[in-house]
Structure formats: C-alpha cells, structure tokens
Symmetry: C2
Subunit: 200 residues, 2 copies
C-alpha cells in the first residue's frame, strides 16, 4: 500500500489551515505571512509548496471546490437524473452552508463576492472559472430534467441555473448579514416554488 | 430665498466624493486619509464634518440610500398600488444598477456584502438597518398587492421580499463577477416568473 510522502501530508495540512484562514479573513487576507503564523510553519517552508501568494490562494480555492464536489455534488449525482438530483443538490448545498464545514458558510460564494470587482488576475480568473463550472453543472442537471420529461420542453437551462444560484446567494447573504437561520426556510420555500414553475 | 451655507455645500461635495471613493475601493477603504486626497481637502477640514471614520462611512451610506429613495423608490410609489408599483420598483432598481449612478452598480448591495461578516459596530448596524428598511418596503408593497386582490391571499410578504431581493442580488453578483449585461435579461425573466407565481 502506497504511503503518502511527508511533504504531501504537510502540504495537505497547510492547505486546510489556509482554508480555515480564508474562511475567517477572506482570500485576500491569505498571505505567506498570515498562513505561516496560523500553521506554525516558516515562510520559507511555505515557499516550497506555493509559487506565489496567488498560487496559494488558488490552491486553497481548489481545495474548497474539491470539498464541495465531495460533499455536495457527488451525493447529488448518486440520485436519479432529473428533479431528485436537483433537489439533492439544493439540499446538500444548504447543509454545506449550515454545517460550518468551512467557517464562512459557503466559501465559494464568499470568494465570488470578494473577487467580483477585483482587477483581472489569476485568482479572479479561478473564481470565474469555478462559477462557470457550477453554472454549467446546474444547466446540465436542468437539461437532464427536461430529457426525463419532468421540466417543460421550453426550459432555458441557463435561466434555471441563474435562478437556482440566486436562491443560494440570497440565503448565504441573509444568513451572514442578519445572522439568523430563519432564511434556510425561506430559501427552501423559494426553491420549491422554483421547481414547481419549471415542472408544471 | 434661503441660501445654503458654504460649509454645507462643502460637506455635500465631500460626501459625493466619499460615495465615489466607496464605489471604487469599498466602504472599508473610505478613511479620512483617502478621502482628503480624493477631495483635495485637508484631513483637519474633514474633522469639521465627521466625528470619526465610522461616522464618515455611515453618512456616505445614508447619501447612497437617499439617492436610492429619490431615483428608485419615489418613482415607484407614484405608480398605482399593487403590481404596477412592484414592477416599477424592480425596473427602477435594474436601471439604477445599470446607470452607473454610483460606480459599483448597486452600492447598497455591495455594502451589505462588504459588512456581512464584519464584527458588530456602528457601520454594520447601519447596513443591517438599511437592509431591514428595504425588506420592510418590499413587504409593504406585497401586502398592498394582496389588498388590491392581485396577489393571492395567503401570500407571505416576507417570503416575497426574500425572493425579490434574491433576484436583485443574483443580477448584481453575475454582472460584477462575469462583467456582462446579459444578466439583466435573466433577472427580468426571473422577476416575471416571480410575479406570475404570486398572482395566479
């Protein structure tokens, strides 16, 4: 059985610390200096793993994306195509936000807000790419629901994805700004209505 | 005819500069130092108008809110109660975002995102208060639509407001992250469906 080299284990641990740090101070606050302090590792130790601050931020974003795929997307894809899969995606997303798996709730949404008006650069490009993948995934699920005869034939998958993400964002936003959990109920009601309007 | 004292005119000009600055660097970047430079006024000149950095930020936020009331809310309230008023609010909001009246598109939404995970403090409280007013306004308009017999009797006004704001946020977000205007069309389609589900 292959063992994981120590340097890879160290890097995995450092990336988890980086994710926790990004969760509390934002990706822009994630630097070699702040991470070295948080992870109890020297800056020069970090240079062995990351080429630049942007590289560190992007790898941390990718870790969050991998966690999202593991915990939200993969369980959804195990459901039957169409509305069961879409429902599971939404439910899993809500659970992910509420679980505190990452400190900021939905760190991917936070990253999108954080970099939406940033100058062009590799991290912004990575955030846009991640958003595009998510949009693409939801569109694919919507097309499958059309093929399964559950969504109306004239469904615009991109429109569905826009509205789906809108509910996720509204929940994320209300939860963080108002610091209550009552918005999970509102998000669920909005989602139920969304599905209803596409399936009738 | 009363004339406006010079100090008030200066303050009004400084606040417009502050709003422009908040639009480009965010409210957190709005300090006596950055504003003095942008407005071509001494820091001590600013101290005459603002008690603290928080006071400066809050007064700037209030200016943005006044502009929003003038340009979006007041024209909406001139429409007949019920769906015409709600439609005008939505249309005006989209126009406000696209007009570049303030550099960040919808600076009030930006402020909400910027302060949603900030520690408690006067500026965060002002943002939450502004959000509450907005939510309350939309709820009132939804209740009027029920009274006018346009919305179903069992309408939950807070739920409608949540979904209405969700569309505004989704548009704001997609526009800023993806830097295209195609999302205005998606937001409009989402809004039309929202109204339809509440009125049928």
């Amino acid at each position: 059985m292959a063992t994981i080299p120590k340097s890879e284990r160290t890097k995995a641990r450092v990336l988890r610390e980086a994710l926790s740090l990004a969760g509390s101070v934002g990706f822009a606050g994630l630097t070699f200096g702040t991470l070295a302090e948080q992870a109890g590792i020297s800056k020069s130790g970090l240079f062995a793993h990351f080429e630049s601050k942007e590289d560190l931020q992007i790898q941390t974003l990718h870790l969050a994306e991998e966690m999202f795929v593991d915990r939200v997307l993969r369980p959804a894809v195990k459901e039957a195509r169409g509305t069961p899969r879409i429902r599971r995606l939404f439910d899993g997303w809500m659970e992910w936000i509420q679980s505190g798996a990452v400190p900021r709730g939905d760190i991917l949404t936070s990253a999108a807000f954080e970099f939406d008006d940033a100058p062009d650069g590799p991290m912004r490009a990575a955030v846009v790419e991640g958003h595009g993948k998510m949009q693409g995934t939801i569109e694919r699920l919507a097309r499958q629901a059309v093929e399964a005869g559950q969504f109306r034939k004239k469904t615009d998958p991109a429109q569905f994805a826009f509205e789906f993400l809108g509910i996720v964002h509204a929940h994320h936003h209300a939860r963080r700004l108002l610091r209550t959990d009552q918005h999970a109920r509102r998000a669920r009601a909005a989602f139920d209505r969304l599905l209803e309007t596409y399936t009738r």
